[in-house]
Symmetry: C2
Subunit: 545 residues, 2 copies
């Protein structure tokens, strides 16, 4: 390749006319200018247009700036999917500050840890979570407590006010014409999302404006989204910033339909009443809809609703059931560290001709890189790709512009995560002949029985096909002879019956015998706020059985 001379004629500089930092804030500016009268946000009786929503976000930014909030400061939000949480995705970064959406199912000690670690200067907190928030604030040294603003949502069922003012009063003090500016650098932090920290202190994952902009567009590309979607907020905004959908839906001048609680009744009512076109959620949400009483199930009159799912590989039976109900399911995969979804099970038209079970099996794979991710690889311990044989397990590595900036104040974890120039997901998977990745387990979840690796996900996939099973999760149980054996925790459908023996026999009929669970325990499954089964709880139970 020829060397470039010092006087390279193509080396033309950047200037204000031809280079602007990429930021999802630009999406709001454009949508408010082009579609000012379209409906932007719905929350019960609260309905705001894009003009009004833009003004509310500017008011927030202005009011924050009045409090001295600026570049690099952290503003936390403790709330379910209410308008304030959405508006914070624009109002906070408009000041150059960093949004930290707190998981509002966390306990006071964890909230206190996060507020202390991030050094949040201001906290918006929903009335319903006043008790937890209050206890968390009490745990912080007085000098480290953030300014507290209450979100006094009319739809909140309970809770007291504990801040110095409420959100609407706070907004009223801001300037609706506040002239915010883009960050000086698209690499600037835009949000901070803490990992769930089931086994250690949570880590603060830093997103930047560039990545948020790109993954917002990545969602458009993989989902084939067009203008004006009506998006139902089943996925918590505190989970990877709602997989970047606050920004995606805004870029498309769509409508955000807020939802305080993920319950079948409210979801079905929103779908019927608001003309919902798209939603996201863990497989638990699909289960909820599938198992809603028959009379309350949605009838969309032939209209298909598009649902994106991730968080756990959806069992084939669940995908199949949902498609029968009128939902087109897109399966994506990602982590907090990848702005939410970073791979997609990209569909092939030819697969439509396959039997439903085969289609669902293909769709349960995590797939290929988002167009805005550069690479996904299943790697062996040396970092080399495993063969595309659908069998050799390795760790899933990812790289590209939608990989986090790093962990806040945690250089060791950051360096480990980025070892070798790839992000290490900690998930184990295989690569199929067509290059599609399929997860087999979290590294820490895999069962090693008699020297054989057993995928808990594979066993769960079989369990979900049993007609009496509503939910299932499999973990390792210590075993003197085998080292570990699979232990299944199962919730049965209402009024359904099955014995442990029958379930084990069903598994042995449908998979290699050594992989079938040796133990079956019935009862409800412990879950995180995002519907992920808490396997560390189950592992503890299995240990003491």
């Amino acid at each position: 390749m020829s060397e470039r001379s010092a006087a390279d004629p193509f080396d033309l500089p950047r200037n204000a006319a031809n280079h602007v930092p990429l930021s999802p804030l630009s999406f709001l500016a454009r949508t408010a200018a082009v579609y000012p009268e379209r409906l932007a946000v719905v929350h019960g009786a609260h309905r705001t247009t894009w003009r009004e929503t833009d003004a509310r976000c500017r008011r927030m930014a202005s009011a924050l700036a009045q409090r001295g909030i600026g570049r690099g400061d952290v503003v936390a939000v403790m709330a379910p999917n209410v308008p304030a949480a959405f508006e914070a995705h624009f109002g906070v970064p408009m000041t150059g500050a960093v949004l930290n959406a707190l998981n509002c199912r966390l306990d006071a000690a964890m909230i206190a840890f996060i507020l202390g670690h991030s050094g949040a200067k201001l906290l918006f907190t929903d009335r319903e979570f006043a008790a937890v928030t209050g206890r968390a604030l009490d745990m912080l040294p007085p000098g480290e407590r953030p300014v507290v603003i209450d979100i006094d949502d009319a739809l909140a069922s309970e809770g007291r006010l504990l801040g110095e003012t409420d959100y609407e009063t706070f907004l009223a003090g801001g300037d609706p014409g506040y002239a915010w500016t883009l960050p000086p650098d698209e690499w600037d932090a835009i949000t901070l999302n803490y990992t769930s920290g089931t086994t250690s202190d949570p880590k603060g994952v830093v997103y930047h404006h560039r990545g948020a902009y790109l993954n917002a567009l990545g969602n458009v590309l993989v989902w084939g989204m067009t203008q004006h979607p009506v998006y139902l907020w089943t996925l918590p905004m505190f989970h990877c910033n709602g997989w970047c959908f606050p920004w995606t839906i805004t870029a498309l001048a769509g409508t955000h339909v807020c939802l305080r609680r993920v319950e079948a009744e409210g979801i079905l009512a929103a779908m019927a009443g608001q003309g919902v076109t798209h939603l996201c959620g863990a497989p638990i949400v699909m289960n909820m809809l599938l198992n809603a009483p028959v009379g309350t199930r949605p009838d969309f009159g032939g209209r298909r609703i598009r649902m994106m799912t991730a968080g756990a590989p959806p069992p084939a039976a669940v995908i199949e059931g949902m498609e029968g109900l009128g939902f087109d399911i897109t399966h994506v995969y990602g982590l907090t560290e990848t702005y939410g979804p970073a791979t997609v099970c990209a569909w092939h038209d030819a697969w439509n001709a396959l039997p439903a079970t085969e289609r669902a099996r293909l769709k349960a794979r995590q797939g290929v890189a988002y167009p805005v991710l550069e690479g996904v690889m299943v790697a062996d311990a040396q970092g080399a790709p495993v063969p595309d044989d659908g069998a050799t397990m390795g760790e899933v590595l990812l790289r590209g512009n939608i990989v986090m900036k790093g962990y806040l104040k945690n250089p060791r974890a950051t360096a480990e995560a980025f070892a070798g120039g790839w992000f290490h997901s900690g998930d184990l998977g295989v690569s199929h002949a067509d290059g599609y990745v399929e997860l087999k387990d979290r590294a820490k979840d895999i069962i090693i029985s008699g020297g054989e690796n057993i995928s808990t996900i594979e066993i769960e996939g079989v369990l979900y096909r049993h007609p009496a099973v509503l939910e299932a999760a499999v973990v390792a149980r210590p075993d003197a002879k085998w080292g570990e054996t699979p232990c299944a925790f199962v919730t049965l459908k209402p009024a359904a019956e099955a014995t442990a023996e029958a379930i084990i026999a069903f598994c042995r009929d449908n998979m290699a015998h050594y992989k079938a669970p040796r133990t079956v325990v019935f009862g409800p499954l412990p879950k995180t706020s995002t519907g992920k089964v808490q396997k560390f709880v189950l592992r503890e139970r299995a240990r003491t059985l």
Copy 2:
């Protein structure tokens, strides 16, 4: 705003895992990996899948590298919309080189000027243009002549071979597995496009990988494109790199349907035979379809074809006619300096209820910024925005990531174009109450008659509504009393009749009398290769009437 401390905890560095240069080359890599068997390129009997297309592009890059082509070198292409021209959009930048797609309607002197100015090291030239290319090469000093490779297209009707080998032989010498790399910097040049240079030497507009990536996605967003479009190549790829559609359609794993000539017969055959879903073109292409003999007009059986148009404000009557024929028209606007389209007449659902003429009038406006552009403004001489009154004229200024890197070896023109931190389009327009921009004229086309500004575009819009008029263009004619008066050049429809007096009377009935043309001249209009009327030719004619 608070100052950032030196030890800003959010200041986490870029690394190979979380930062990758934005480049449309990544789209080909992904599409070839995910959809290897889908049809990528069609050209007569030539049909290649994405796997094959990817291999052909790598072969091109490898063969170029073997010739010493590398970063910052220029590779020129003189061809209509054939597979080689498309493949060059990937194969050339895969080596780090810069693609210069030549307008193959230019004459030998202009081609020689451009080859000399760009310093092209290698030229792919289609057999049909051998005569012009040969003469151009003869004009260059022997030491400055590029290596010449012939594109010996089976569908070319004429022409000899004049290079050292032909394109397919050249590819055969390349490695289909060539391991290309992304550019070290997304700001690196990817292509070079010369302006038409009607009044002076053409200027070389430099595009970079970042802008090409972003405008490729901008097209997806404004056109609501989903996976697998079938795109008909009516728009020349040598015009702003086909408005970035070589990259857009590739990102969406669509099919590129090549077309050597923009003629109604070939267009209609492709639409019927290839299942075309999208095409782009100047209003001249719409006129061609509208005026095709009735028996040959497309019948898509209710299917709508989407057409994007720009290059000249489409007359309302033409938009209306096309919509009646089964085309959904999206109107965009841009310049060579903005990677093709940079604004779009973003549609509002509410406008669908308006009468057809009113819809077409709204759609003839150039509209609002692309989502990937940051701003468009109609500015007065001081650079301040004119009022949104739909009447006050100003220059259209643009800024954002899809504004060119600059002009090659032309610092003075570059500085002038970017004066004040905005790109100066040289187009005159107004801003309407809804913020939509509407062009009124090129700065040099506006007619000043008795001290009043008269928009030639407005007069042309009225002329197109006359039932006998096929095409119309208006220029200024020098006048002793008024300074200038409008002079209309008109082509009538086949078998239609109208007198100059009748046309003038029609104009006076439909617009302010002082704006109506004083002179009407009948006959064919001189045009550029992209269908733009050459007004400088007409101005010369008007001067000597």
